[in-house]
Amino acid sequence: MTFAVVVFPGSNSDRDAAEAARVLGERARLVWHKDTELGEADAVILPGGFAHGDYLRTGAIARFSPIMGAVADFAERGGPVLGICNGFQVLLEAGLLPGAMVRNRDIKFRCEFVPVRVDQVDTPFTSACAPGQVLHLPIAHGEGNYYAPPDVVESLEANRQVIFRYTDRSGAMTEGSNPNGSVHAIAGICNAARNVVGLMPHPERACEAPLGSDDGRIVLASAAEAIRDGRFRARPAAAASR
């Protein structure tokens, strides 16, 4: 299967995401942000980085990149879309996911491996996980403090849209286990249709043990498996309800 990895000017994890797909034995294509078609794609990744310099706000300009029309269309047709770090921020700005990112609680950029608990497994990117499974994943962000108004957070929780949470190694949420101050220790969420997932940690950087962890493999592997057995697949464009 083929992952289409969107390259914005300022993306810096695009090649890492493509490499991770290849490590898993899948295909990856880089798609330039000025293109208007995704081309062959079973799943789309919006990679980490600082698209368009993150000027104005993180992800704020990237939502206007020409490719985003095709990404929104793909998402609407049920295609699996994964936003990692800056890609998550772009999904928020593009309105494909609810909420916003603000500066980390301590104002500083933070890079380290942290435990991340998988709370829901009925998304294309967690379907191979066990509920409550704790993954060891790197974070690397200055604005990963997820925020949404209380009613939005409430509805995210009610609809089981919180997919990943920062916890300790045992999966418990503690005062010290939230690295950036995110509300409800949210590390990743999905949309109501559950095919669009965004997360701040970097699974694509944790696909080989010598790099510190290979726990991230399961995120892309889930998608590959879910697409192969037809659970998450974009409907053909012609059949899309517009």
């Binding site: 000017p9 300022g10 980490g48 600082f50 950029f109 950087r205």
Partner: protein, 745 residues
């Protein structure tokens, strides 16, 4: 028109003798613009006029050297047709004036040097020096520099994979920010900064030129005083997004073969790029400043030529391939602008709307500048500070208290407060996590990997610049060796005070001599580097601080170790001789407030044997962990091996070093900083093999203890002198810096 009088010369940092030389080279008086060109190109920063005679003595050749000093960066062959391209550079003065931007643009500058060579940057390291964290100013500078280093590298997506940080009051008014960038290229991709081919177009690409950074190179060549803050406009402002676009576009263009040469516009901006490219190519350049994209209106040719605006490149393109090059830059929303062409005149000719406004032979700017053999004199106090009377120190500190103090000393404590702010995982090549002795990256598509370390001990160099510099080379090489990598190339950043003072120049000369001797003995060629002089504030110089960056080659990146113990029940082995040397040690400074004595002795042949041994032991999988002994000596080294292991403690028993006076025997044994020592852990079944290998290599080796338990326990001659909970010790070590930074500002 401004007449050139003595006050104009003084403002340009040009001496009357240098002015006479300019007149001779031109055959006439220069105009103001031409004087400006000479002023920046003949500044200490660009011309190395005080340091050149010394630098020439360094070993710069070897079978692996593909590019030695003189280009944007050095390059060494690492096999399989690949090259490691690397260089270190300082941004000390700007970082004092404006810490965030000073550090950020330092990172930006060295990254450009690497991708200019056609190499993709794959790692950054930094060597930083600040005043004591008990001072608010030092904390502010530290905070700003770390944020700036991270802000630029993180954005552009190049991992910061290692470095070192030292705090000492001598750097309070003059912090050091030295940044090393490592890149990877195929041999045939390496491209140089040559202007060749008469008639070939000269292109400018990148950020627009503004009035920022005018005379930055000149500023970096003067001492600081209280008016330095007024020089803030001479500090550039960085834009990592622009640099990211520039990097991707340049790497794409370089692959087309349409470029003759390329150079970044760093210090001395357009002046440096035009004259150096012409000089290297044996050609000349005609450019018109009206074509140079300008951020501000009304800029004069003088301002345009001297601006140090960041993120700009100059390229010479093969005539006929302009459209191809322009199209790639357009794709990245960058506009490559033709500003002139290559000539065969050997002269840099600057025009303004077609009118010739400056006309200077390129080599006059780049090669025919003044070279000073400045007087050198050993400081009167030098021998005095090498004297160390243990008797005068009073009672030795209790070992347990000393251990506590050392683990909490910011020099020894974990630097995670800083490196957690650096993205070290981007690029998916980083094997060793920060906080280990070397940054280690794998090379995708190959079994190989690279290890890089930056090291320098200013205290040792202050006490003895020759030996201190040798120790810096030895430590940097040892740090790449402990992960199993063979040292293959060095770059150095020489941070010193005002070279016009004979004592400073003596320190400089001695340090370069030490680097040369050590690099020759260890067979590590120096492929480039940077000299930063005038590191003084209010007449007080920093410690002489040569920083060595050494790149090592891992034949097999899967065969490497870190400092951390891997399992309980392993045997701890000390390789190398413990002579209990306390001179210049952190123990003396931290516990007795003294910076005195002779730095540790260094036997380069013993060092070389030790490094060869550890490389072999790691490659053959005979050791589980390996860690260099440096600040804090053996006890701190063992503790560091136990930290970040999830709770594998250690029990150690060592014989006391003989002949230490005044009751300092135990502390000298535990905390002395004798060079050429490595602590390894070995599976019990392999102990005999490792000891036999050491004996065969002529390296002293002793089993000194065992891993395991939840305590750090040290005995000397069988008597327990330190016994502490690992968890408490680790917390103290891990949080010392953040506790200082969290204090009320």
């Amino acid at each position: 028109m401004t007449t050139i009088d003595s006050s104009v010369l003084e403002r340009h940092g040009i001496t009357p003798d240098e002015y006479q030389r300019i007149i001779e080279l031109l055959g006439r008086e220069p105009n103001l613009l031409e004087l400006g060109l000479f002023s920046v190109m003949w500044s200490e920063h660009c011309s190395y006029k005080s340091s050149r005679v010394h630098l020439k003595t360094l070993p710069t050749t070897g079978p692996r050297v593909l590019q030695g000093p003189g280009e944007n960066a050095g390059a060494v062959d690492i096999g399989e047709g690949l090259a490691a391209v690397f260089k270190i550079e300082s941004h000390n003065h700007p970082s004092f004036i404006e810490p965030y931007q000073g550090a950020a643009t330092g990172v930006g500058g060295i990254i450009r040097d690497i991708f200019t060579m056609g190499a993709r940057p794959i790692g950054l390291l930094n060597a930083l020096r600040f005043g004591s964290l008990d001072q608010p100013l030092a904390r502010r500078i530290f905070e700003g520099v770390v944020a700036g280093v991270g802000g630029y590298g993180n954005s552009i997506g190049i991992p910061t994979i290692g470095g070192e940080i030292v705090f000492d009051d001598v750097y309070a008014g003059n912090p050091l920010v030295n940044v090393l960038c490592l890149g990877l290229a195929r041999h045939d991709e390496i491209i140089k900064g040559n202007a060749g081919g008469e008639g070939n177009p000269v292109y400018y690409v990148g950020a627009k030129t503004g009035r920022d950074g005018i005379h930055g190179a000149t500023m970096a060549s003067a001492e600081f005083d209280e008016s330095s803050a007024e020089k803030r406009p001479a500090v550039q402002v960085g834009d990592p997004f622009m640099e990211k676009l520039l990097m991707e576009a340049c790497l794409e263009v370089q692959k087309t073969g349409a470029l003759v040469g390329i150079q970044d516009m760093g210090a001395a901006g357009l002046t440096c790029a035009t004259s150096e490219m012409s000089s290297r190519g044996g050609t000349g350049m005609d450019v018109d400043v009206m074509h140079v994209p300008q951020r501000e209106t009304g800029m004069t040719p003088y301002e345009t030529m001297l601006s140090e605006s960041q993120e700009r490149m100059l390229m010479v393109v093969h005539a006929g391939r302009e459209a191809e090059v322009e199209a790639i830059f357009e794709k990245w929303d960058l506009h490559a602008v033709r500003i002139g062409h290559v000539t065969s005149t050997g002269r840099v000719r600057i025009h303004e709307h077609g009118t010739l406004v400056a006309d200077v032979p390129a080599p006059a700017l780049t090669d025919e500048g003044p070279v000073y053999r400045r007087p050198m004199r050993e400081p009167a106090w030098q021998r005095e500070v090498q004297k160390l009377s243990l008797e005068s120190l009073g009672a030795p500190a209790a070992p347990q208290d000393a251990m506590d103090a050392l683990l909490g000393s910011p020099i020894i404590a974990s630097k995670r407060w800083a490196y957690h702010q650096y993205d070290h995982t981007v690029g998916t090549n980083t094997i060793a996590q920060p906080g280990t002795a070397s940054g280690v990256v794998r090379i995708k598509g190959s079994k190989r990997g690279l290890a890089v370390s930056v090291d320098g001990n200013g205290r040792f160099c202050y006490l003895d610049p020759y030996r201190g510099a040798m120790l810096a080379v030895a430590e940097a090489a040892r740090n790449v060796a402990v992960v199993g990598a063979e040292p293959v190339g060095a770059t150095n950043n020489l941070n010193f005070g005002n070279p016009e003072r004979p004592e400073i120049m003596w320190q400089f000369g001695e340090a370069v001599r030490g680097i040369g001797d050590a690099c020759r003995a260890l067979e590590v060629p120096v492929t480039g580097g940077n000299v930063s002089l005038y590191n003084e504030t209010e007449g007080r110089a920093i410690y002489p601080t040569p920083v060595l960056g050494i790149v090592g080659l891992l034949e097999d990146a899967s065969r490497t170790v870190t400092r951390q113990f891997q399992s309980p029940g392993a045997r701890i082995v000390a390789l190398g001789d413990n002579r209990g040397e306390l001179g210049g040690s952190e123990y003396l400074a931290c516990l007795h407030g003294q910076v005195a004595g002779a730095p540790p002795a260094l036997d380069l042949q013993a060092e070389r044997a030790l490094q060869r041994l550890i490389i072999a032991l790691v490659r053959e999988g005979l050791v589980e962990s390996a860690h260099d002994c440096s600040e804090g000596g053996l006890a701190v080294a063992v503790a560091e091996c136990a930290f970040d292991t999830g709770g594998i403690g250690a029990t150690v028993d060592v014989p006391a070093v003989d002949g230490i006076r005044a009751g300092f025997g135990v502390n000298a044994t535990l905390f002395g900083e004798s060079a050429s020592r490595i602590v390894v852990s070995v599976a019990a079944a392999r102990l005999d093999t490792v000891l036999a290998r050491a004996a065969k290599a002529g390296v002293p080796a002793a089993a000194i203890g065992e891993t395991g338990g939840d305590r750090l326990r040290f005995s000397v001659d069988g008597a327990i002198v330190i016994d502490m909970a690992l968890e408490g010790a680790e917390t103290r070590w891990a949080t010392a810096i953040e506790r200082k930074m969290a204090r009320a500002r």
